[in-house]
Amino acid sequence: MTADRRQFLLQTGKLLLLTGAAGLAYEHVLAGEPEKAPGYDATRHWWGMLIDVEKCIGCGRCVRACKEENGVSPEPFYFRTWVERYQVRGDDLEHPQVDSPDGGRDGFPERYRAGEGKTFFVPKMCNHCAHSPCVQVCPVGATFHSPDGVVLVDKKYCLGCRYCVQACPYGCRYIDPATRVVDKCDLCYHRITRGLTTACCEVCPTGARQLVDLKDPEDPIHEYLRTHKVQVLKPHMATKPKAFYNGLDGSVR
């Protein structure tokens, strides 16, 4: 009986080990060679965004440019990127006042007086998480991580089931009223794969937003991350976001 049990455990252990190894190997086979496009090698990039809160002036040029570039529904409450205005009174960091009129597209009419508290702008967008919940919940594989680290949507394949809209901890997704499938920031994939920067970075007058390539050893982001106190949004969600915020206040959610 004892010998039997030992043998059973041994066999089971071997089986589990082999199944795991086979599973890993199969995934590796599935992953294949990332797509090659003329003049662009996806394996050589790992895109992200650097957002310097202290430079944002809340002009809303990014929101406008994004809507134009990406054909976002012209209605004022659909956007791929938006700007929030925070106001924190005294030491009450847990209850900031947040507003974002039309996503900040037309700027922010003055609402607060100097000396009433701390007020600042925070640009928001898809964080292009390396471990994104939206990709995990998609039942059909219509949203995915591209080999160069961008969270993309396959609009031909999306069912419009909205799981991902609920799953995103940053509220970055919406259902496009025209196509009735999901839409979100794709980091201007059609631009960055042609050597251009994103539309929002292109028009940002203060350089508060910068496209970064974490795989490019020449990219100043490496030096920047070494020398600045940089944060990501909701680190406790363990989503590994690639939108890095400099000068972010603790009240920002």
Binding site: L30, A31, G32, E33, P34, E35, A37, A42, E54, K55, C56, I57, G58, C59, G60, R61, A65, E68, E69, R85, Y86, Q87, G107, F108, E110, Y112, R113, A114, E116, T119, F120, F121, G141, A142, T143, F144, H145, S146, P147, L152, V153, D154, K155, K156, Y157, D186, Y189, H190, R191, T193, R194, L196, T197, A199, E202, V203, C204, P205, T206, G207
Partner: protein, 152 residues
């Protein structure tokens, strides 16, 4: 044991059903799943090309410099060096490909300047801001300041 195999035809029937079900599943899978699904991961490989295929709306400042080198050089030396051409002149990809057919936006001076420079407590204090009610309420900004090389 003997009772179990005594009713062999039941087992065969069940197995037959399973086999038919499996066949149906494999057939449906072959018909419904696109050929390029799963090539690079759990998604349709063609979706990468679909996302890339969209056309440009903003041309980028390098495209502007190709024709307007002087203006761009002037801007680069000014306080507005970091401001992209399309921040003020609108999206210009159409203009860059067909300069005659599509003209760049000539911005409405005061309204545009105030988009960035109107006083707002949420703006960084170091950023130059004016209250339009007491800073030249009648005049145009460009009466005193050049947009491409704004003075103090």
């Amino acid at each position: 044991m003997s009772r179990l195999f005594g009713h062999g035809e039941h087992l065969v029937r069940v197995l037959g059903l399973f086999a038919a079900g499996l066949l149906l599943f494999l057939l449906a899978k072959a018909l419904l799943v696109p050929a390029d699904f799963g090539v690079y991961g759990h998604y349709r490989a063609g979706a990468l090309a679909d996302n890339r295929a969209r056309s440009l709306v903003h041309a980028g400042r390098a495209a502007c410099a190709a024709c307007h080198a002087e203006r761009v050089a002037e801007l680069r030396k000014s306080k507005h060096a970091g401001v992209g051409c399309e921040s003020c002149h609108g999206a210009l990809a159409a203009h860059a490909s067909e300069p005659k057919a599509h003209k760049a936006l000539r911005p409405e001076g005061r309204a545009l300047c105030l988009t960035c420079h109107r006083t707002n407590v949420a703006r960084p204090v170091s950023f130059p801001q004016v209250d339009p009610r007491d800073h030249a309420p009648e005049g145009a900004c460009t009466d005193c300041h050049s947009a491409h090389d704004p003075g103090p």
